[in-house]
């Protein structure tokens, strides 16, 4: 097969994203047993950011309806549990809003049970709760979900292990390297200290950034409680300056 390389373009410059250190958990973390056979043993190879990494899927439009952001309104009746609003902004580390980006969430019901075939926790399923939502951030990076507070649940990692209440969040940002899947926790949860997944994040200050805060301003009187949580994705590397020819 004949190879037709693109013309060499020595003028092509790509502004990389920052590489925060000490933020994300290590892939090999003994406290979380499932990492044992699933973490790479070879060192990761440094990949400088090129075109494939600084671009990424710009998803959302056409994939989401406004109803997808209300997890309490997906069935004939309302789910059981404490109604909550979860809202905040998606920003990059430079403080810039990340607009028009898809957020996907999934969670257990108020009894701590997922609507998933392999969840064998003997807590009841709720026929009125699927536990899946989606939305797209607005022009200021803001998102908003209405749901019920998920329950804590036991898991088999170690004797008497319990996961703190959490909602799974999946985000794309605008570049492949901004992709983030994380979990949002709730302020004051007594289960944090014994949870290896929460504590896999080495920096205690970074752990705090996974915890939503109660926000009276987000409560709806007579209806629901409110929690606020901002999500910060990697930003452009501030130490690499744009060349004038990049501004086109």
């Amino acid at each position: 097969m004949t190879v037709h390389p693109p013309p060499a373009d020595p003028g092509l410059t790509v502004r990389p994203y920052e590489r925060p250190s000490g933020v994300h958990p290590p892939l090999d973390f003994a406290g979380y047993r499932s990492t044992a056979l699933r973490h790479p043993r070879q060192p990761l190879v440094l990949l400088p950011h090129r075109l494939t990494e600084i671009t990424g899927p710009l998803l959302g439009a056409g994939r989401v309806t406004p109803a997808d952001a209300d997890l309490t309104a997906q069935h004939a009746d309302e789910p059981l549990g404490q109604r909550i609003t979860v809202s905040g902004r998606v920003l990059d580390s430079g403080g810039r809003a990340v607009p028009d980006t898809l957020i996907e969430v999934w969670q257990a019901n108020s009894a701590g049970r997922y609507r998933h075939a392999v969840d064998n926790h003997p807590a009841p399923l709720d026929p009125n709760f699927t536990g899946v939502g989606r939305c797209v951030t607005d022009s200021e990076g803001r998102y908003r979900f209405v749901t019920i507070k998920p329950g804590a649940y036991p898991w088999g990692n170690h004797p008497n292990a319990w996961r703190p209440a959490h909602i799974h969040f999946s985000l794309f940002g605008r570049a492949f390297i901004q992709r983030l899947v994380t979990q949002m926790y709730f302020e004051g949860d007594p289960l944090f200290y014994q949870d290896p997944i929460f504590n896999s994040v080495p920096d205690p200050a970074a752990r705090e950034r996974m915890i939503s805060r109660f926000d009276l301003g987000l409560t709806e009187p007579e209806v629901s409680l409110g929690f606020t949580w901002d999500i910060v994705l990697r930003g452009r590397d501030a130490t690499v300056f744009e060349q004038p020819e990049d501004r086109r």
Binding site: A8, R19, S170
Partner: protein, 192 residues
């Protein structure tokens, strides 16, 4: 202004209720002329299938372009109809996934040189506290692969070879790319 980045957490065992899409594996609509199918298995350090993983891909179009405002070369010249650039597939009980796409074009590399056609790949799973990132290269691009700066950066040719998909004999348009998270022939993963 510098804000602390939100840490990654595992997708856990129940990602299948939230992340797969019915059209996820189709970077281009099924039946698109010239489409290729990439299949493979995700396995762990014991060689066992990983049945609760999500494989995601991102790539240039056949012309080597991205429909994205941050590509300094501008918009695609001839956008391929229905081409999304992005694929997503949850693994099944045997750890297998599939992506239906168009082969991407080669890319200019910043500062000169050329990247061989490739897909960027994320693997998310229970037991992975952060995604792992790899690349899929093409077996019919030996010359371009030999000149690719990313493959060259791996150093060990045997390790770099873990990133080249295999042609499926007698099945044109079918490629196989297995992802070994750990152990013998462990796939090369990148620090992005």
């Amino acid at each position: 202004m510098s804000l602390g980045v939100t840490p990654s957490q595992t997708v856990g065992p129940f990602l299948a209720i939230g992340l797969p899409w019915p059209d996820g594996p189709f970077v281009v609509p099924e039946g698109t002329s010239g489409a290729i199918t990439i299949t493979g298995r995700v396995t762990d350090g014991a060689g066992e299938p990983v049945p609760d993983a999500l494989v995601e891909t991102w790539q240039a179009d056949p012309d080597g372009r991205f429909s994205h405002p941050d590509d300094p070369r501008g918009a695609p010249r001839e956008p391929a109809p229905g081409f999304r650039g992005f694929g997503r597939c949850a693994t099944s009980a045997d750890g297998s996934y599939r992506i239906v796409t168009l082969k991407p074009g080669a890319l200019p590399s910043p500062g000169g040189g050329t990247e061989a056609p490739h897909l960027d790949v994320s693997v998310l799973a229970r037991g992975l506290l952060d995604r792992v990132v790899t690349r899929i290269y093409f077996p019919d691009e030996a010359e371009a692969n030999a000149a690719d700066p990313v493959l060259a950066s791996i150093g060990d040719p045997a390790r770099a070879a873990t990133l080249v998909a295999r042609a499926e004999p007698g099945m044109p348009g079918r490629l196989r790319f297995d992802i070994r998270l750990q152990g013998d022939h462990e796939t090369v993963f990148f620090d992005v």
